[in-house]
Amino acid sequence: MPGLIIDRDDVCLYVTEKCNSNCIMCPMSLDCRKRGSEMSTEEWEHFEEMIPDNVSHFTITGGEPFLHYPKLFPILKKINQLYPDAEVLILTNGRALAIPAIMESLSALITQRYCFAIPIHGSKETIHDDITSSPGSFRQSIIALKHLSETSARTEVRIVGHLLNIEDINDTYYMICGLKARIDVINLIAMEMTGCAARNRKKLWVNYDILCDKAENGIRQAILHGIDTGLYNFPLCQVPEHLWPMIKHSITASKIMYPKKCEECKKKDACGGMFYSTCLLNLCTIKPFRG
């Protein structure tokens, strides 16, 4: 449920369940997004009294957090005033930022401690908009990236890989590298198989190692462009060894699970594991290192 999630010096503001897109691989269920509950009034208005003093990192996420921009902007202002050294990561589809008035107000709040992570699902409008089920969303997200790259914030593109965009993944990397915008990071994200993603798994699931293989050229292209690249949510055995430096241990500790086979693996201590949901669905073929 939305609210403040506090983990030592890291605070996550899970702003809302509501979203203006309707992505086929969303880890939230349709019901949940429709219900659209959000942070409590007390959390919106007094969040600073409910969190520790030494917060060094904020994550702002949803649903789509900018659906509540009139309430979100005062929060960002408070973060800037009260936590001037903290990093702020905002997970958004960016669509609201294509609206000049919203972007203009946001620009005044952005500092170089901000990072915006925006998912791009394909190299072109047709693929992206089909996945989000939202016509126009591709154009809006790209505009947001261009606007944001004019600010001092860092910009991150997230590509969630699955069967519907796997053949287009390389082109997506190339398209992003060629954008007339400053993109700092591109991360390839392995799906979390809950909500819509679980429901649509027959249409979506592709084994992580195949995904990695298909993305390799694109990853190289990003590196050549000086763009930081990462692999999120990938178990070690699904990634070819030369790409291991890209792996980020990105799954929240409470959501990690290791399939039984992993007990035999000699490199388990270096592996970030799998989402428990993906693990339980028994979709992924694990290849433990025995040597």
Binding site: Q112, S152, L236, W244, P245, H249, K267, K268, D269, A270
Partner: protein
Amino acid sequence: MLGHFYFGKFKDGILLTGDTGRWHFLSEKDFNSFVNDSTPKDTQQYQLLEADHFCYHGSEEAFIQENKYDIQTANSYLFEATSLFIFAVTNECNNKCIYCQANGGGQLKKMTKEVAEAAIRQIEKTPARVITIEFQGGEPLMNFPIVQYIVLNAQKLLPKKEIQFTIVSNLSLITDEIASFFRDYKVSVSTSLDGDKKLHDYNRPAADKTSSYESMLKGKQILESYGIKTGAIQTTTAQALSCPETIIHSYADLGYNQVFLRPLTRLGSAARRWNEIGYTPTQYLAFYRKALEEIIRINLNGTPMVEYHAALLLSKIMNGKAVNYMELRSPCGAGVGQIAITANGNVYTCDEGRMIAEMGDEAFLLGNVFQNGYEEWMNSSCCKAVCSASLLETLPGCCDCVYKPYCGVCPVVNYAINGSITKISKDRCAIYKGILDVLFDYLIEGKKEILHLFQSWSKSI
């Protein structure tokens, strides 16, 4: 499994250092048993070594993951582009310092507005967002109109950059007008102070035979009346060697809480007059050791004062944090960290490279602000040559030195002294090694109050 580390004999034992700056000191016996994997794993010594990544159990991949962020932090300057832009706005000076490296007796030139504007426009191409523009000379205030022009126009011409301005001056030409300008535009001011009046005037005689010490003081006072606090750096000549205490006290007396004890570099006038003002590394190190003792004494008596070399090195040793100090990094900052632009618009790898040019040798020329731009400068064979010549990881003798995690080499000094950018200057090497020896003496001795003091220095920069 053993991790990756450097080691060397130190006094009666072995010093071990790692790429993240951490270190351990072991007796020869303990060291032998550690590298032969016969130290019992349940001892405190082994566990401390493991905690500092000198060894590990588990998979190599997990070890890499655990270390990679620390290694990134220790080398964070690699993620920065050129951020220091030195504008040598004139090579004219009203002092005739005995060790001057900035004027080889060539033609006197002042930077024009056209050169300044072209130079600023070229800076736009650096990917660094936060940049420093440093005014140097000669005496930069002998061309104050251009300093003023650059400060007033740089931000307009570079709207996307955050610009910090700093000037290195002998302060003799400071007026109320200049001081209020520096205050209004937040220009930070650094000067030279070599010791007491006698030594300072000897090292840095004014051309008009007046006391450069007195005129520096006068300038300092005017700046202070506008709320501007100056910084100062010292240059050590043979005449300084006998009086480290006096030098430290002349800093304390003028209210400075930082001193930077710099050895003489054998360039320019210093090279010509080496017999008179030069010395051996051993002599410098005896001076440094005594001076540091005095600084520590002053601190323990309640007056805070930092020695900048020590602070730079301690930041790496105690915090594993890289300071983007151009001389102590791998590769050095030539081109990729800084560039120097002279009055005629020529662009050099660094301040030292430009000094070689003042002596008539254009070896470190990257280009010219009118003829080419940032990309060409960075891609020039000169820039690549100094980068590869200063990459410690590839230099025999440096790559496995116990002080490798903290050190750096200067291809320009190598070239000036040994005629080759890769032929390491033995004196410079001996001096940095010696300074690190002094610091590790204190660190290994481990007196609480000194460790505490060092910790505060390491965090002061």
